[in-house]
Symmetry: C2
Subunit: 301 residues, 2 copies
């Protein structure tokens, strides 16, 4: 029994999982929700540790240069979160205050900083990996809040949410195999939590007319898989994780090389921690104590 | 033996704690650093749980209205992180791309969103608490990445960092006592980790000429205490936590009332998780295995 977006949002608030934060796509979460997030996140961290990934954390903001070097503003301009602040040369401070109080846009008094919000947990990693990889490549386990400027009434489409991402950098075959293995693993893990999970070939929401060609190519080459679970619609299930083969895109942009000197290929697998949690609540209901015992045990609930 | 800022930053990178992220005040952290963060954070979470605080998490961004309603742009305009994105009416997408590639400021093609970065973990909480408190008030345990637009070469002055905050909302006396108790507790906790911690009366970096009066008043009334520990300077030790009595500032701004109908007072206590970790490394050295056994045990290291 699938709820509508509004019904799910109301249920999350009424059952003490979420707290409205005054802006579409922005929510506070109680420990009732966070305990589920921690439980699922712990499962991925454990798998990543066993697979020998190096665990690294970056803050939720990233150098503006990374956005420039990856062509993010070409592909996803409407999702970006550029960061701006006041500097004394921007205008009189009293005029700024008046503008703020009027309730409008105060952009004219602000200057763009050298930072943007992080669009995916792996973005800060690539510039830090410039150079030659050890033989066999490197794998990483990352987690970060990420930002997408897309206000929505869909509880599963948040403007700020957490990704647990694993990244592999190596030669093309090793990277492609790694991505496929993680895709099997992710599907098994979610089905093991009694979620009606399906794997699909997917594309990114590239911007504009040129974007249509990019996504057609991405789908034709099966560069992206997603695992989807019904959350607020059976016809349009929600992607809860994605498995992306970037070919040499990031290796070229940041000069990451394999031990034989060729440009490294990369792939990332990302789990949307809030989305997985929503899928669990939508599937098993709002009373966590009534979830299947094996699911609760797996999630340490 | 205290290092300079440069020496400490180099030591953190050389000993595998930090990864440069290309912008002053922005760093990636390895699990060697994060294990210390988790250990200390766990101690505060435990104290908060025992004290009956409700644990809530907010994302690192907050409604722009909260910034407006709290007068943040009057007091701290140069620290704000306003969030801007591209919308089709902002100008031609191809012109945006040209501007991005030129390497300059692309503000003219962006529009201010209804969101800013969160300046302190407690900001999103106050609007969520509008209404009447139960008798005895309410206490909360929060954690969030916070943002301050102040690029610096001081490793202890990051643009994005994590706060573990506790907040109390109640009548004036209860709130003031709560703040003082946490201040004793925080000092004991840090000294228990063999840190040379001192409590001082402190002020916030209010902006401009009017700000000088605000901070003088804040200090005269002892509204803010900090616990400081030498990190890169013995003469100017670093604040690792702060204990702030807001009087009725947030209660008035968001109409939070006590059970007898008066405007609630509030206080917050915030621990800078990275700063505490830096203080531990600066005090006990970069080899965690050689730290005092009791300190490692307390931090589960």
């Amino acid at each position: 029994m699938i709820s509508t977006r509004k019904e799910l949002a109301d249920l999350l608030v009424d059952h003490g999982f979420w707290i409205p934060a005054g802006v579409p796509g922005l929510w506070g979460r109680t420990d009732r929700f966070e305990a589920i997030v921690r439980g699922f996140d712990g499962l991925i961290v454990e798998i990543a540790r066993e697979s020998g990934a190096e665990r690294i954390e970056f803050p939720p903001v990233v150098s503006r240069d990374v956005i420039r070097q990856t062509g993010y503003m070409e592909s996803f301009p409407e999702l970006c979160g550029s960061i701006h602040s006041y500097r004394e040369h921007c205008g009189r401070h009293l005029d700024l205050i008046d503008r703020v109080e009027e309730g409008g846009d105060w952009s004219p008094f602000l200057e763009q900083m050298e930072l943007t919000l992080c669009p995916a947990a792996c973005y800060p990693l690539y510039p830090a990996a410039t150079g030659v990889l050890p033989e066999g490549g490197r794998c990483f386990d990352l987690s970060s809040y990420v930002f997408r400027a897309e206000p929505s009434d869909d509880p599963a489409r948040m403007q700020a949410f957490r990704q647990r991402e694993n990244v592999c950098m190596a030669g093309p075959e090793a990277v492609s195999d790694w991505r496929d293995e993680w895709s099997d693993r992710g599907l098994d893990l979610l089905r093991g939590l009694d979620l009606p999970a399906t794997r699909v070939v997917a594309g990114d929401p590239f911007f504009g007319r040129g974007g249509k060609m990019l996504v057609a190519n991405q789908i034709a080459q099966k560069l992206k898989f997603e695992v989807v679970v019904p959350v607020t619609s059976s016809e349009e299930p929600t992607a809860v994780c994605s498995f992306n083969y970037h070919e040499d895109k990031f290796g070229s942009a940041f000069d990451i090389r394999t031990s034989d000197g060729s440009i490294a290929h990369t792939a990332c697998v990302g789990f949307g921690l809030e989305r997985v949690t929503l899928a669990l609540i939508a599937t098993h209901g709002p009373k966590v104590a009534a979830w299947p015992a094996a699911v609760r045990e797996a999630l340490s609930l």
